[in-house]
Amino acid sequence: MKKKIAFVIKSLPYNRETSRLGLTHAIASQSVDVYLDEGDMIEPVVCFIGDGVLNCLKDQQCMKHYNNTSMETHIKNALLVDLQVYICKEDIERFGLTKDDIVTDAQEIGADKIAEIVPFDKIQGIMEEVDHLQFF
């Protein structure tokens, strides 16, 4: 059996640890098998909405200033392990950002998966179809 869990990240990066915990919990789905019965699996979906889209900015300098892994790197790690990542188009535009400002791939570390910038309607559809929905 497969269950879909959506991790909807709406918090700012580096204000609290909330957005990072959302993403690291989603990535933890890669090692959940040890707790599940054979054939069972979790399909995580990560969605960035509202202020949460600022987690997706390119060229974050968190390692330089705080010696912590940036949200940018966490997103790239999520893509590396083939997580589905969606970023709300309207919220990016609300901040005056474009696709060029946003992390959408991690080809430099060998990821094939691409983060998709999609209208909120698409994200709402995902939230309606998943088995469990969690906001961070």
């Binding site: 909330t18 915990l21 919990h25 933890a28 959940v32 599940l36 979790i42 969690q134 906001f135």
Partner: protein, 120 residues
């Protein structure tokens, strides 16, 4: 009866989010349900040994020990979040397991309902 999984991120003291998570757990257990409570981030403080009750500070140790004694309440704290706060395994209350985040996800898998409390 169903299974409720609660993920919580709020500290023991500092907001009432943890109080709500514990009260909700208690209500569900009292109705005969099963509850898994996952403590991540600052919420790990709920599982620290040596908590004392002071007037106007949240205190839930006796409550969660009572819930655990029902056999239908599982509480687990994030090992990495705890270690990062200098709070080690031998300083964890006996009714609480220390686990990795995948334990929480597995709990979500078997839950009828999942709630995230104090993630703001």
């Amino acid at each position: 009866m169903g299974k409720l999984t609660i993920g919580t991120f709020a500290s023991l003291v500092g907001s009432y989010a943890m109080d709500f998570a514990v009260k909700l757990s208690e209500a569900a257990i009292n109705k005969g349900h099963e509850v898994d409570l996952w403590l991540s981030g600052n919420a790990t403080m709920l599982s620290k040994k040596g908590q004392k009750s002071f007037q106007d500070y949240s205190y839930h140790l006796k409550t969660i020990e009572g819930l655990s004694s029902t056999g239908r309440f599982n509480i687990a704290t994030c090992d990495a979040c705890s270690e990062a706060r200098g709070y080690h395994k031998d300083d964890t209350i006996s009714c609480c397991k220390r686990n990795t985040m995948d334990w929480y996800l597995a709990s979500c898998f078997t839950a009828d309902r999942v709630l995230m409390i104090g993630g703001d």
